[in-house]
């Protein structure tokens, strides 16, 4: 009887061997997959229990973790409430967004760059702590931009043209991330569902995530393509009162039925100054869709910024246009779409002598001891226009602000360059009001893009509605010592 007993013993050992192999498979082989399962709330909680690093800008705390006496030990707080919600994002019991999401590994203390401090912690018995993320946002500009936009739906982006640093990024309406970060699970879920379901889309970061028809602000790109093709600011271009678009019966009028120049032709600089539709539509047809698209892509259309820490939408210049579509695209209508960040980049590149800098939001990373671990170096993304073209465009944009549609963006004692836009987006809807520009014109310290959706509810043009917002933001940027 001992033979079958031995075989049973063998079978039992096979069962145990299977369990041992399986244990190794789960606790070693599958660990990474299991840990990153979206339904695995442990990872977030485990990190909630650590002192997460702060998100700061200058001396201002955008997001901090304060010790609390509950099961998660630390409560994430956003002291400024709504003001930086679209930048920091949120860190909840369940999920994360914004910088909280993209910089999570560093903020939670798992980043390899924090290894040295982790090793020290091991010996000193300190709990693992996260590093601090320093943003490029300037609190004063952010504050002014948010106030200038008020409760109108829209977005403001301010860039440093020389570096690409994002100085302000405002979306409206927005939300208070503190309501999501609460440790009361049902309250957090309720708050999230209310925000996610709201028609006004408060969770949307409009500056980078939403595309709009750029309207007349796109004329900067058409003008850049024209100047690159040999046109001069003084070149007279056809500018009829009405333009019947090629291969169609559609008639393109000027805004409010205005007359450009002498009613038949106009100089390029004057056409931009008064935002003459027919002149730029003719120019677009003359240059052709491909030239326009190449110019737009050189400014960043049809691509996204690599390693950008926030979600982005792609700005689009459509392909395969016929004559009528090219004419409409040349004035930023038809299917042309741009994010406010993209239009701010266009202004910044022109202001920066034709050099397009890579926009960035995180200026440096600090260890728990506030020692700098890494610093973002400004990076060049390309040269969409030559310095000469940039200089001519700047002159033309100065004319827009000094004597054209953008007069409300004037700052006393400073030359401001800019371009307005009043973008149609559907029959019966009030057009979006745009303004893009930079100041001072000669060596800009700030470039902005402002959009007020539907003109803020009234039938307002970019010059009337968006330019005053841009003016305040640029003024604030020039007032701020950096």
């Amino acid at each position: 009887m001992n033979t079958p007993v031995r075989k049973v013993a063998l079978a039992c050992m096979v069962l145990f061997a299977a369990l041992l192999v399986n244990a190794n498979w789960i606790q070693v082989g599958q660990v990474d997959r299991l840990k990153t399962e979206p339904t695995n709330a442990r990872q977030i909680t485990e990190r909630l229990e650590r002192q997460r690093g702060g998100i700061i800008t200058g001396d201002t705390q955008l997001a901090i973790s304060v010790p609390v006496d509950d099961e998660y030990k630390f409560q994430r707080q956003y002291p400024a409430g709504q003001l930086y919600a679209n930048v920091t994002g949120y860190y909840t019991l369940f999920t994360a967004a914004g910088l909280e999401r993209s910089e999570d590994v560093f903020l939670s203390g798992d980043d390899d760059r924090l290894l040295a401090s982790r090793v020290t912690d091991l010996f000193t018995g300190e709990e693992r702590r996260g590093g601090t993320v320093v943003t490029t946002i300037v609190p004063r500009i952010q504050q002014v931009a948010a106030e200038a936009l008020g409760d109108r739906t829209g977005a403001v982006v301010a860039l440093d043209p020389a570096t690409g640093a994002i100085l302000a990024m405002v979306t409206s309406p927005t939300y208070d991330p503190n309501t999501l970060a609460t440790h009361d699970e049902s309250a957090a879920t309720e708050a999230y569902q209310a925000l996610a379901g709201a028609g006004s889309q408060p969770l949307l970061n409009r500056p980078a995530q939403q595309t709009y028809p750029p309207g007349s602000t796109f004329k900067l790109i058409t003008a850049a393509a024209a100047l690159a093709a040999g046109y001069e600011p003084g070149t007279r271009v056809p500018a009829p009162d009405e333009l019947t678009l090629p291969q169609s019966t559609t008639v393109l009028p000027n805004f409010d039925g205005e007359t450009c120049g002498d009613g038949r032709t106009d100089t390029l600089i004057h056409a931009l100054t008064i935002s003459c539709n027919t002149a730029f539509a003719e120019l677009g047809i003359e240059l052709g869709g491909d030239v326009l698209r190449n110019q737009a892509e050189a400014f960043g259309f049809d691509s996204t910024i690599e390693d950008f820490p926030l979600q982005q939408a792609r700005s689009i210049f459509p392909d395969g246009l016929d004559g009528a579509q090219t004419a409409q695209s040349a004035i930023g209508q038809f299917n042309v779409r741009a994010t406010p960040l993209q239009m701010a980049e266009v202004a910044a590149a022109i202001g920066n002598g034709g050099v397009r800098m890579k926009p960035y939001l995180v200026s440096e990373l600090q260890g728990p001891d506030l020692k700098r671990l890494s610093r973002t170096e400004p990076a060049e993304l390309g040269r969409p226009v030559t310095p000469e073209v940039a200089a001519k465009l700047t002159t033309m944009m100065q004319s827009v602000v000094s004597s054209g549609t953008g007069r409300k963006a004037q700052i006393s004692g400073v030359d401001v360059a800019g371009k307005t836009g009043t973008a149609e987006h559907g029959v019966g809807e009030a057009p979006h009001a745009w303004f893009v520009g930079f100041a001072p014109a000669s060596s800009p310290r700030v470039a902005v893009a402002v959009i007020v959706e539907d003109g803020g509810g009234e039938l307002g043009t970019g010059g009337a509605v968006a330019a005053p917002v841009a003016q305040k933001v640029m003024q604030a940027a020039l007032d701020t010592q950096r």
Binding site: L20, N22, E46, E71
Partner: protein, 493 residues
């Protein structure tokens, strides 16, 4: 009945470690018992260290009471040791300490989960629930009492074979008991428990043992008939159906009751147990083939007939499908997250969050241990179980009577199978079924029944380690045992 002498008598100086403790007269104590005591003290140190680590993690300091508890735990199992010393002095010295170590880890983990519950209740401002650890400690005491009782009462395991049919009937009655109105209780959707006051008891754990005694006794009696009188079919020898009648009836009845009670795990366990013992008794591989075929058939039928079986299988196959696994596999997936959180070395006792897993101190106690002790701890625990099974089977190999062999093999294999079904289910190797982890899970019936199993194994081991009896009174049922006994040389290693 007088016990036969020990196989390897030792000199008197090696005998009583505890001077003055009454020993069976005329017996010299081998060093086994001192080894057992030494190993038991290791188990005590392990449990105390685990409790110390827990208090350190939870309170930030180790109080003196940790050592009091540790000493109390050791003393508890030392009672069992003294009983072995008194009633089975030649028995295997490894089984008891290994079981004590498993029990100690289980107790600390159950206490750790109590602390987590109490903390959560305190934060939420609710009343602090009664701890499961105290209850489990009472059950442990009871289990040791049963352990001592079994050793004291069953002085010769062969006497159990006399009660074969009584055991068979009692086993079935125990299985049916929970269905009876008044005393039966439904817990977590399965009617498996007897409720008496605050204590609930799962009688299928007890019937597991007594049905095993019935199977073993009956098959020893019939094994010649079963292995000889057979026809050939497809190259395999098929036994006659009428020889198997009573066993099949008992088996089908127990399975039927289990199916009615929706206890998937126990069904599986009984089936495997039956198959093992049948194979050993008849030495016919055909039984294994028939059994596995029956199992496949049963599995397919059960899957198509019973919703709860389908749920288990779906939860196993599609554990991670869908955004939220709360549909059918929430518990399983949470358990796996626990294992993953533990990784190789674990978070350390008291430093993970095993309370996130449902049923963390019963069905998913392995996930709790896996999280806080890591792969290292899981492998150590699995090896401890493997050691119990190996030692039990070693007792079977040494046993001089077929009934002892059959019983020891069956009990050891059942334990191994239970661990496999339990841990395999929690680790998603096989579909999840409701079984307890012997000696570790929170639950009274499990630890009491398993303590009785260990007592029986020690009893058989004790008999196996003694010299052959000169009197041929071995055959109680089996005439062939007489002709076999002289040739059956038991090797000692």
């Amino acid at each position: 009945m007088t016990l036969p002498p020990l196989r390897r008598p030792r000199s008197a100086d090696l005998t009583a470690t505890f001077a003055g403790f009454p020993l069976p007269s005329g017996l010299e104590l081998p060093p086994y018992r001192r080894r057992e005591l030494l190993l038991l003290s290791y188990a005590g140190v392990l449990a105390t260290a685990a409790l110390a680590a827990l208090t350190l993690a939870h309170d930030g300091a180790i109080g003196f009471q940790v050592f009091t508890y540790g000493l109390g735990f050791f003393s508890l199992w030392a009672l069992g040791h003294l009983a072995v010393r008194r009633f089975a002095p030649a028995a295997d010295p490894v089984l008891l300490p290994v079981v004590a170590a498993l029990n100690g880890l289980g107790l600390v983990m159950i206490y750790r989960l109590d602390l987590a519950k109490a903390d959560a209740a305190r934060r939420a401002g609710r009343a602090i629930p009664t701890g499961a650890a105290q209850t489990q400690l009472v059950w442990t005491l009871l289990a040791i009492a049963v352990f001592v009782l079994v050793l004291a009462v069953v002085r010769d395991h062969r006497s159990l074979a006399r009660y074969a049919y009584t055991a068979g009937l009692a086993g079935l009655v125990f299985l049916v008991l929970p269905i009876a109105p008044g005393i039966g209780a439904t817990i977590n959707g399965a009617r498996l428990w007897l409720q008496v006051g605050p204590f609930s008891f799962q009688p299928s754990e007890v019937s597991k043992i007594i049905l095993m005694i019935f199977f073993a006794a009956y098959l020893v009696n019939k094994r010649d008939v079963l292995s000889v009188a057979s026809r050939s079919f497809l190259g395999m020898k098929i036994p006659r159906a009428r020889d198997l009648g009573p066993v099949l009836v008992a088996w089908l009845a127990s399975l039927g009751v289990l199916v009615v009670q929706k206890d998937l795990g126990s069904s599986l366990l009984f089936f495997g147990m039956f198959l093992v013992i049948l194979y050993v008794a008849t030495q016919r591989a055909s039984w294994v083939a028939i059994g596995l075929a029956l199992f496949m058939l049963g599995a397919v039928v059960a899957h198509s007939l019973f919703g709860h079986v389908q749920i288990r299988v779906d939860g196993w196959l599609h554990a991670f499908d869908g955004d939220n696994p709360s549909d059918t596999s929430f518990q399983l997936v949470q358990g796996l997250y626990g294992f993953a959180a533990g990784g190789i070395t674990g978070t350390g006792i008291g430093q993970g969050s095993p309370q996130r897993v449902p049923f963390a101190n019963t069905d998913f106690v392995m996930a709790s241990l896996g999280e806080e002790l890591g792969l290292t701890g899981v492998m150590a625990i699995l090896l401890l179980y493997a050691l119990v099974a190996a030692r039990g089977i070693r007792a079977a190999l040494g046993a001089k009577d077929p009934f002892g062999k059959l019983l020891a093999t069956g009990l050891s294999a059942t334990l191994a199978l239970q661990v496999f079904v339990q841990v395999g289910g929690v680790m998603r190797l096989i579909p999840l079924t409701g079984l307890t982890l012997p000696f570790v899970s929170y639950g009274g019936s499990s630890i009491v029944a398993n303590a009785a199993i260990i007592a029986l194994l020690l009893r058989i081991s004790d008999a196996a380690r003694r010299l052959d009896e000169p009197v041929p009174d071995a055959p109680l049922f089996d005439p062939s045992a007489v002709s076999e006994s002289p040739t059956q040389v038991v090797k000692t290693t």
